[in-house]
Amino acid sequence: MSTNGHIARDESTFTAKTGLAEMLKGGVIMDVVTPEQAKIAEDAGAAAVMALERVPADIRRDGGVARMSDPEMIKGIQDAVTIPVMAKARIGHFAEAQVLEALEVDYIDESEVLTPADTVNHIDKWAFKIPFVCGATNLGEALRRIGEGAAMIRSKGEAGTGDIVNAVTHLRKLRSEIRWLTTLGPEEIAAAAKQLQAPLPLVRQVAADGKLPVVLFCAGGIATPADASLVMQLGAEGVFVGSGIFKSSDPERRARAIVEATTHYADPARVAAASTGLGAAMESIETSKLEAEQLLSPRGW
């Protein structure tokens, strides 16, 4: 509790952390690599931007170790826009996260898109004042991340492919596992927690509420307005678009279209209008054609 002026306040509480994710709902968070792109994203209606050095499609193409971005680039983006700025740290790399906190980014993504720094442990996110978003492929993984302090979850999908199939698999898996929990009797919850490898109190909470305790976004493979509509109808509360915007032929127009389709996801006529005349989508890769070691979503556990 700090006192600043005449009203005592608690900064960076879990409610304040999850609250920012609540405010991002129904919105589109866009990957940007320059201040100019950040401005285009903001003007097109992005609810936040993810500042990074290379979009996932380029990370995939270039290979090598992908790390946290240069602070100078992050600061340039913070100066360019008024919407929240997120940035990525490597899985388990708490020192990168400390740097991002020192830069006062608004959210940290502990991301499988970067090369993991720890093969066993994720970052202890309770130790930070900045909220974290983490990827998940199923309910157990989502609840492990929340148990570590994540204030927002996103599906992992398969970043940098433009192929929505893995995001759909992950969202459906999350949904069906949540539904399954709600059908269990109280005596079955502990065994379910063991099976999911997830903290018992969180499993109990999901079983009672029928939903995750934090906001769920979709990431990994969104390239079109219809992709956004699809994942919103499958229960995502908003979308991350990585390579899908700035790797397309007309980024500004596509950005606006995906924003519009995310708001009107349940109205096919509006999604159709938003999808019309956008030019070429990003150059895409069929996920099933990737070798196992090229997949990003198995990173983390």
């Binding site: 005449h6 005592a8 405010m23 709902k25 609810a47 919407i83």
Partner: protein, 197 residues
């Protein structure tokens, strides 16, 4: 307009659902017995008895209001005296620089970045029962206001809760805590609405 109502004779609270925390408001309003309707296009405003402008990103909402042609219908609604609650970005939408229906100028992200988001308790004039539990998230404050605007609460000397006629504007998020007193305070202005106990 009331003839087009599908929800029957009960009061309907519209919630702007372009982007942001609209579902959190829905949950509180449903607990208090209100019928709600998500508002994305002008026709959604027909027959509503009150309106909530939720938090979210004010840039996204501004673009959405423009894209959907919601500006004039929203201004007409405000001028007709329909009770309106704006929270955080919703407060910004009401100010002189946006819809221009509330005689204030809001300063965006006035309390700073997310690192400085906070919870606090303080009294809000007209809300009984002692200090209100509030959450401020990258919150604005009121930098300037006209004489018709009544200040209900301040933080660090800056107005964070104001009222002008039937418009109530809050810099914080009453929908994210266990509080429902500010929503009750708002619903009390809706003609014919009885808050569920």
């Amino acid at each position: 307009m009331s003839t087009s109502r599908l929800e029957g004779s009960r009061s309907i609270v519209g919630i702007l659902a372009i982007q942001g925390g609209f579902e959190a408001h829905e949950r509180v309003l449903h607990r208090l017995g209100a019928v709600t309707r998500q508002v994305r296009v002008p026709v959604d405003l027909e027959g509503i008895d009150a309106l909530v402008l939720p938090g979210g990103e004010s840039t996204v909402m501004t673009l959405g209001i423009e894209r959907e042609g919601l500006g004039d219908p929203l201004r007409r609604l405000a001028h007709s005296g329909t009770p309106i609650l704006g929270t955080c970005a919703g407060m910004i939408m009401l100010d002189r620089a946006h819809l221009g229906v509330l005689d204030v100028l809001a300063k965006r992200n006035a309390f700073g970045r997310q690192l400085h988001s906070f919870e606090a308790e303080f009294e809000v004039a007209g809300v009984p029962g002692g200090p209100v539990h509030t959450v401020f998230i990258r919150a604005p404050w009121i930098a300037e206001h006209g004489p018709e605007v009544e200040v209900l609460a301040e933080v660090d000397g800056h107005p964070v809760a104001v009222r002008q006629g039937a418009i109530l504007a809050l810099a914080f998020h009453p929908e994210l805590t266990a509080e429902d007193r500010l929503h009750r305070f708002f619903l009390e202005q809706v003609a014919g609405f009885r808050v569920a106990e």
